[in-house]
């Protein structure tokens, strides 16, 4: 199965247990459609041949089963749901990011696979079906038990570890997308001329620049004038 049809298949798998309440868990109760944005397959950002080759290999590798990918998608969606103006995990293509980064990191493979297996086993024990196939309310009961690292119940520790890992991957995956940048309000990564902390921010923090320090700093109105110095190392331009 090629990648596109695999993704389509996963979407329909996500849609299948509608009756079990997944639609509302994915924040799509109204429309019923699973909102799963796709990530690009080709990247170009100054790669060497060896790097491109390695990435191609990673993309071609199938590690997770469809069942596992659905479990990942359901978890990502619970952690960062789509019922938000800036979109959620599925809008930001999280399942595909998690799939890629787990293959890329290598050392995440076992914790994620084993974590899903633990979660399924726990869900079967509690509610008689694996995690993706129990009801939304039942899923949240489980999440409430494993989403808090301060819980000391030894029997839940594998689940707590796994949920923390999935929360890390979901948040890192989301906040490194355009949606995440919008959600955070990130302003950087553009050419600009830094001229210090805004006045109102300084005031808010009760801080100010020491006048002697400020005197030494760059006069941005003269940044384009070619530097020259006198013999005593004083800048004269």
């Amino acid at each position: 199965m090629n990648k596109t049809s695999r993704r389509e298949a996963l979407k329909s798998l996500l849609l299948a247990p509608l009756a079990a309440g997944l639609a509302s868990a994915t924040g799509c109760a109204a429309g019923g459609a699973v909102n799963w944005n796709e990530l690009p397959r080709e990247y170009s950002y100054g790669r060497t041949g060896a790097e491109r080759q390695r990435d191609r290999k990673l993309f071609a590798e199938t590690y997770f089963s469809e069942h596992e990918l659905v479990a990942i998608a359901v978890l990502c969606d619970i952690i960062l749901p789509s019922d938000h103006p800036n979109g959620g995990a599925l809008d930001a293509g999280l399942p595909e990011f998690v799939e890629f980064i787990v293959k890329d990191r290598g050392n995440l493979k076992l914790p994620v696979r084993g974590g899903i297996a633990w979660l399924d086993s726990y869900a079967i024990g509690e509610f008689g079906a694996d995690f993706a196939n129990i009801g939304e309310a039942q899923r949240l009961v489980i999440c409430d038990r494993i989403a808090w690292p301060d819980v000391e119940d030894p029997a839940l520790q594998p689940g707590i570890r796994f949920f923390s890992l999935m929360r890390d991957l979901t948040l890192t995956g989301y906040y490194t997308t355009e949606q995440g940048f919008r959600d955070l309000g990130y302003q950087g990564n553009v050419a600009n001329v830094w001229d210090g902390v805004p006045e109102q921010t300084l005031a808010r923090h009760g801080l100010r620049y020491e006048p002697e320090w400020l005197e030494k700093c760059v006069d941005q109105s003269r940044r384009d004038i070619i530097a020259s110095w006198d013999d005593d190392m004083n800048l004269t331009s």
Binding site: Y45, I78, D104, W148, N189, W194, M233
Partner: protein, 569 residues
């Protein structure tokens, strides 16, 4: 010119030392072959650009890889582990060997921290009785530092400090918010703090290079050429003279010598087609990095140089030493719920603390400086890990799921202040690299085997670093993160090689029995072979080595030109 005609100079390696040698020699009219093990590189080339990329342009969102250990967008291709190029460490010793494989070498990823060594740094034996003095002093190198400042460009301030000399500085940028917190805490603790000194153009220095646009991405190399990379500042102008041939993707195996023991050229291998190549030269300048240059010399065995070229003293590879390091971070509750604005600034800290306890009695030798980190960095892989861990300090519950996490992310964004210390170690004869008789790389060149152990001096220094960082972070109103490493972890002391300031393997000296080169980087054993990387350092100071490499390499190059003029070479 045919390949058989000798070049005036063959420069091996294109980092700070090799770039400077190539530029200075070509500018003086010499015909130069520049041999670089990696590919040609220009950050302004769209096909190689990583600057101004967004994290989603990478499938791994900027996470590190073996080829880019400092992240997927880092400009430098290289690392501590290279395919086909192993190294080994002797039993019970430790060393991490970083190698860059590209034009410009590791100047493509360095922090641009550009500190002159001070008068005391050249004469440490005089002050603490340990190690050895350099054969030269600050006054010998000062004119070269001056020239480097003006040629390359460095911002900073003249503070009249005794061991952190003034320079021809461009003006520094204003501190960021977390740096203002650091300044306040340093004032409270009575520890000095000054504008940092980085080779980034806050002001134009010529018509060719651009001026900083404050994207904080010097580590991705600047397409405007507004930061110092060897390629950007030295190699392109050198190539423009028309007198330089660049042999990229070419590994030097050994220096060839004639019956008189002098160099005749170098033997190399073309990494792309695995063809052997010989270059003839009147002089050879090794600038492949301290350990790589030592390796080439050790592998240049001949009847006249039975233990390797330049190694009659047995000192090639000896006195290998790296900077010490330790770091700590804190959460600053006052920086919660910040105003969000663009505070990228330059690619590194705007403020720093140089060593301030020169005249204090301590239980370790030498000193260290403090580098300050924090701010509203661009998210990349790892952002959002342990997203709301700081809630613990507020008496709130850590963990959870759902849209509340978005509030946590924003609330704690940019609320971290970190300090990294970089210190001077005491060079040891017993810390060294040598050829491993059992291992070769894929080019058939014997691999290096490292022997390296820290001493009590460095471990005690790390303990002091931890106490200092704790004091400063607490004075900043911070809640310390993680545990303070104790003796069981050598106080968080970094591993040898980890700071990537390894130097000393071909140290300079006036006595050929205890040094490899003379004070001009010229081999005692072969007068037409020079070392222009940090191998010649007698001691590393707590300063970053690049500015001293540049000053020494320029001085060595002028010496070569002068000796050629006098027909001594």
């Amino acid at each position: 010119m045919s390949a058989a005609d000798p070049y005036d100079a063959i420069v091996v390696g294109s980092g700070a030392g090799g770039g400077m040698a190539t530029w200075a020699l070509a500018r003086a009219g010499l015909r130069v072959a520049l041999v670089e093990a990696g590919p040609w590189y220009d950050p302004a080339d769209e096909a190689q650009r990583t600057q101004f990329r967004y994290p989603w342009e990478s499938p791994r969102r900027g996470a590190s890889t073996r080829l880019r250990p400092f992240g997927d967008f880092n400009a430098c291709i290289g690392g501590w582990e290279l395919d086909g190029e192993p190294f080994t460490t002797a039993d019970d010793t430790d060393f991490m060997w970083w190698r860059a494989r590209m034009l410009g070498g590791r100047t493509n990823h360095w922090g641009r921290i550009s500190l002159r060594f001070g008068p005391l740094d050249f004469k440490r034996r005089d002050s603490d009785g340990l190690g050895d003095n350099w054969p030269i002093g600050y006054e010998d190198l000062k004119p070269w530092y001056d020239k480097v400042d003006k040629l390359v460009g460095v911002f900073g301030t003249n503070e009249g400090l005794p061991n952190d000399p003034d320079g021809f500085f461009l003006p520094p940028p204003k501190p960021r918010l977390h740096e203002l917190y650091y300044i306040r805490s340093a004032r409270r603790a009575g520890i000095p703090v000054y504008p940092s000194r980085l080779s980034i153009l806050t002001k134009r220095i010529n018509k060719e290079r651009g001026v900083c646009v404050y994207c904080r991405q010097c580590s991705r190399a600047c397409g405007l050429h507004a930061d110092f990379s060897s390629s950007t500042v030295l190699i392109y102008p050198a190539v423009a003279t028309g007198r330089v041939d660049v042999y990229s993707n070419t590994m030097v195996r050994k220096v060839d010598t004639g019956a008189d023991g002098r160099a005749t050229g170098v033997s190399c291998i073309d990494r792309e087609n695995r063809r052997e190549l010989r270059l003839n030269g009147r002089t050879v300048v090794l600038a492949a990095s301290a350990c790589s240059s030592a390796r080439i010399l050790l592998n240049s065995i001949s009847a006249r140089h039975a233990s390797g070229l330049g190694n009659s003293s047995g000192h090639v590879g000896r006195y290998l030493h790296d900077s010490t390091g330790a770091s700590r971070a804190a959460f600053l509750p006052e920086l919660m719920d910040r105003d969000i604005y663009n505070e990228d600034g330059v690619g590194g800290m705007h403020v720093y603390t140089p060593w301030w306890l020169e005249d204090t009695q301590l239980d370790f030798a030498r000193g260290y400086h403090l580098e300050i980190g924090g701010g509203m960095n661009m998210p990349s892989y790892g952002f959002g890990f342990a997203a709301n861990q700081y809630k613990r300090f507020l008496g709130e519950r850590v963990g959870g799921y759902g849209n509340g996490l978005r509030d946590d992310i924003r609330r704690f964004y940019g609320s971290r202040l970190s300090i990294a210390c970089r210190g001077e170690s005491v060079p040891q004869y017993g810390n060294y690299c040598e050829l491993d008789p059992n291992v070769v790389d894929e080019w058939g060149i014997p691999a290096l085997r490292f022997h390296y152990r820290w001493t009590e001096q460095e471990i005690n220094q790390a303990r002091h670093m931890q106490d200092t960082m704790e004091e400063l972070l607490e004075a900043a109103g911070g809640v310390l993160l993680g545990d303070k490493p104790g003796p069981e972890r050598e106080y968080g002391l970094t591993r040898p090689g980890e700071i990537i300031h390894e130097v000393g393997t071909t140290r300079m000296g006036d006595d050929p029995a205890t040094s490899v080169t003379n004070r001009f980087g010229q081999l005692h054993d072969a007068d037409n072979v020079f070392v222009a990387d940090a191998g010649t350092f007698v001691s590393q100071a707590d300063k970053n080595p690049t500015w001293t490499i540049l000053a020494l390499a320029w001085r060595t190059s002028e010496h070569i030109v002068e000796q050629m003029r006098q027909r001594n070479l």
